[in-house]
């Protein structure tokens, strides 16, 4: 459930986003996505950047292993080009604290700010001072209201949410040999991140896998209720081939339900890395795959985008970092690719 | 005592809590400048009587006259407004506040034009009061918690006498004090006579009662056993009145 909170934050972006299921991830203002792999600072620019004595501040919304991985990716990329990180903060989801953090960081006159604005409305005034002072602003997932690409900010980066849902569908289909019945446990709230991911899963199954049918749909708003929901679903559909769970937290509850029923056949697929869920997968349990975002790459691309802007190069308005499908065969690699840390001991 | 009219008259006071009779048929007169001691065993009704006089309890029946005027107190503050003050066993002092604020607790002095506290005047008047009663404290600005038990008792007595225009009720004023401090507080009580106040004192110490009082009133199980002139009685008589053993 490491992304739940991030997820909740991004909910505000929903207001700006058409809610129809897209065939790809689109930005807060409907921008087309540019893959993060296209955002590269050339080695030839290294000299210019180093001579610029540039500095950066990382002003996050909260602390989590996701934020740590983004920070690590950004810091490593900055280091390559001699950009010094002069402040790192966490607002703990407090909009007032985020405003204070921005003011405090500006004391150190950073050239770049990477940040996840807590929501479009409260962050508009909060980032105004930084914007007016010409700091290069690279945002994660959210965009302050009425900010213009190019003049006010550099870019918005986020996970490739559609890909995450699609890859979850592909992985579950593969584990079911592309036939059977599926239960869909989606996040029952107006939240940009989960809605995009959940709908991408559903769309993919419906469009790409004619022999798989979604026979049960159940929304969840409280992860603690996942076990009851899964129990009810299994009672009505005892021969479910697979279950999609919106993120890892509730997936743990679904797993508990399957174990309690002695069910060893129903496959589970979920999003975001979690040690207990991955452990079941490694031990050959119900979990078929976990789809994760490449948080480290997300951080790298944010840093790269900011530096490109410093070099007066064009940066596209909306960048997405890829998703990675983690199965029992590639847990160590998957963990490394997503978070750039070793997988937990139990999984290796 | 010179012949003068009674300051406080209690006539046939009854007090019952539900079916339990706490005080029955109690009558007593007090004159200004007179100290009357109220003695009796635990549960004899002394505290109930103090609470009736200070307005906390309303008597079930009976009359109270103050200065010849029939009165019935609705609560403690009306009694206070009539010039009756109580020195409680627990002293009722705010420990973390300075002496002068305690002296004027609930009746703080203010100054024009904004009605802010007149701390200087309260300090000066407090100093004067404690000096009069010879309560020796470092300063009127001292915090109560810095003072000894005797000093605190002195403050409580000084406060009561400052505000009492007629009657001071003292509930076990020296129960928690050592020998030297008790003697000092007794001196202070004796001085109150000079201010022409009537004083009703509850005490367990017969030595004290005989040292201070003009008359002694004995209660046993809510009944008034009798009132004696202190100079015309002795401890044996009082003890037998308290215990009921001849």
């Amino acid at each position: 459930m490491k992304h739940l909170v991030k997820t909740i934050l991004c909910g505000a972006a929903v207001m700006l986003t058409p809610m129809i299921a897209q065939a790809q991830t689109i930005g807060p203002k409907g921008e087309a996505a540019t893959p993060s792999s296209e955002i590269v600072v050339s080695d030839s620019s290294a000299e210019t950047l180093k001579n610029g004595n540039y500095t950066a501040a990382l002003l996050w919304h909260d602390q989590s292993d996701f934020v740590n991985a983004v920070t690590a990716g950004a810091t490593a990329e900055f280091e390559r080009f001699g950009v010094e990180v002069v402040a790192t903060t966490s607002a703990g989801f407090d909009a007032a604290k985020q405003r204070s953090d921005i003011e405090t960081a500006l004391t150190k006159k950073p050239s770049i700010i990477l940040s996840l604005p807590l929501d479009p409305v409260t962050s508009a005034a909060a980032f105004k001072e930084a914007k007016d002072e010409g700091v290069k602003l690279v945002f994660l997932s959210n965009l302050p209201a009425n900010y213009e690409h190019g003049t006010d900010y550099t870019t918005v980066a986020t996970d490739d949410l559609f890909q995450m849902g699609k890859q979850a569908a592909d992985a579950l289909a593969a584990s079911m040999e592309e036939k059977g019945t599926v239960g869909w446990i989606y996040h029952d709230a107006d939240y940009y991140v989960t809605n995009q991911r959940d709908n991408a899963f559903k769309t993919t199954i419906e469009n790409d896998y004619p022999n798989i049918s979604i026979v049960a749909e159940q929304g969840i708003s409280d992860p603690a209720r996942a076990e009851e929901i899964a129990n009810a679903m299994l009672l009505r559909n005892p021969d479910l081939g697979g279950i999609y769970v919106t993120w890892a937290g509730p997936a743990e509850g679904v797993l508990a339900a399957l174990r309690a029923n002695g069910n060893k056949t129903t496959k589970i697929v979920t999003l975001d890395l979690s040690e207990p869920v991955a452990l079941d997968m490694v031990r050959g349990g119900n979990v078929a795959a976990i789809v994760a975002d490449e948080a480290y790459e997300l951080g790298r691309t944010m840093a790269a985008a900011a530096m490109l802007d410093l070099l007066d190069q064009d940066v596209p308005p909306f960048i997405v970092a890829p998703a990675v499908t983690v199965t029992a065969d590639n847990v160590s690699e998957g963990w490394m690719q997503s978070l750039r840390v070793e997988a937990p001991e139990s999984l290796r | 005592m010179s012949e003068q009219k009674n300051l406080l008259s209690l006539r046939n006071i009854h007090k019952a809590f539900g079916g339990v009779i706490a005080i029955q048929d109690f009558s007593l007169d007090l004159k200004a400048g007179e100290i009357v001691a109220l003695v009796g065993d635990n549960g004899a009704g002394k505290s109930t009587l103090i609470k009736i006089i200070s307005g906390v309890y309303t008597p079930t029946s009976g009359d109270i006259e103050l200065d010849g005027e029939a009165i019935s107190f609705r609560d403690a503050s009306t009694a206070r407004a009539k010039g009756i003050e109580v020195v409680y066993q627990d002293l009722a002092l705010a420990d973390q506040q300075p002496v002068f604020m305690n002296m004027f607790l609930g009746r703080e002095l203010t100054k024009p034009p904004f009605g802010l506290l007149d701390k200087q005047r309260m300090r000066e008047e407090s100093q004067q009061l404690v000096d009069e009663l010879d309560v020796r404290i470092p300063s009127a600005a001292s915090t109560i918690s810095e003072l000894s038990g005797g000093q605190r008792q002195g403050i409580a007595i000084a406060r009561a006498t400052h505000w009492a225009s007629k009657l001071v009720l003292l509930d076990e004023p020296t129960a928690a004090l050592g020998v030297a401090e008790t003697a000092r507080v007794e001196d202070q009580i004796a001085k109150l006579k000079e201010k022409n106040l009537a004083i009703l004192i509850i005490s367990h110490s017969l030595d004290q009662v005989f040292k201070l009082s003009d008359r002694i009133c004995v209660l046993r199980r809510g009944k008034q056993i009798g009132v004696r002139e202190t100079k015309n009685t002795d401890k044996n008589e009082i003890v037998s009145m308290i215990t009921g053993v001849a």
Partner: protein, 302 residues
């Protein structure tokens, strides 16, 4: 008092170690004043509540409800109506706390623990978790980004709050009765102080200052959100205790609370400028607050 020494010590420490990082710049020092303004205003109300022997845990939720009320009302009504509504809900919630505590004789800890949750929920449901922008520029000027004689409005509000708070607390009969009520309620009662009414009033004051803090947040952020004030509970309690106010009543200081609040703001600011990792910022801040509270409480026991 300890808070003065601690304040000066930490200020000097940051002034020396963070000189090159701009700690002493006018901009940074102004930032600290602006950032702590709402917490300082909340702290004033809490000093009154604690001094009377009550605690208010609900003020953080009141901040959110008040800020959202102002933001919503200002969408359709003029400035004065919005301000009155924001402060009004603060006082009303404080009065609810106060009536339950003073007249139904429920412990303030439990009452305000419950209303904290209740109004946090109401704040969430008021706008369905949405943030509400504040477009009224007169409002955001007066309560947020404006200036008077080159003094930022938030600094002026802090000064007014501390000035009036200190005067009422130290120089009025009401202030004396608050202290007496917290110090020894029985003594207060027998000397004619209306103890129940004092308890009601201090919780109303705490509601009022929380409402005011909500206005300042709405002005500063030009928006209101249900999370406002949520994280201030611990900061404000710590600021007030470090500032020499007793948790169990009868003793306190408005000036101390101001310094305690500035101390907290200075810590947040300095530890970020030191470029510590976020976890380390939390650890160091926690240790310093622990030290300050311990020393402050030891000091007040003597």
């Amino acid at each position: 008092m300890v808070v003065y020494i601690g304040f000066i010590a930490i200020f000097l420490f940051f002034a020396v170690t963070l000189y090159d990082d701009g700690f002493l710049t006018q901009r940074n020092l102004t930032n600290i004043l602006l950032q702590t303004a709402p917490a300082t205003i909340m702290a004033i109300g809490l000093v009154f509540a604690l001094s009377a022997g009550e605690i208010d845990l609900s003020f953080g939720s009141i901040v959110a409800v008040s800020a959202l009320t102002v933001a919503v009302v200002l969408q359709d009504y003029p400035l004065i109506v919005g301000v009155a509504a924001g402060l009004g809900v603060g006082v009303a919630i404080g009065a609810l706390n106060g009536v339950l505590v003073a007249y139904l004789k429920l412990p303030s800890f439990l009452v305000t623990l419950a209303t904290m949750g209740l109004f946090a929920g109401i704040a969430r449901s008021m706008t369905d978790l949405r943030s509400v922008p504040v477009m009224n520029e007169t409002f955001t000027g007066i309560f947020g980004s404006g200036k008077l004689f080159s003094l930022p409005s938030l600094v002026i509000w802090t000064a007014i709050g501390v000035g009036v708070g200190h005067l009422v607390y130290r120089q009025t009969r009401f202030g004396a009765h608050v202290l007496a009520t917290g110090d020894n309620p029985r003594a207060a009662l027998v000397t004619g102080i209306k103890v129940a009414r004092i308890r009601l009033y201090v919780l109303m004051i705490s509601g009022f200052t929380a409402g005011m803090a909500g206005l300042l947040y709405a002005g500063r952020l030009q928006a209101a959100k249900y999370t406002l004030g949520e994280s201030d509970l611990m900061t404000v309690i710590a600021a007030v205790i470090v500032g020499g106010t007793a948790l169990n009543g009868g003793k306190g200081s408005i000036i101390g609370a101001l310094l305690g609040s500035l101390l907290m703001g200075m810590l947040n600011n300095g530890l970020i400028l030191m470029n510590l990792r976020v976890s380390d910022q939390m650890i160091v801040r926690g240790l310093i607050i622990l030290l300050a509270v311990a020393v402050s409480l030891r000091d007040s026991k003597r």
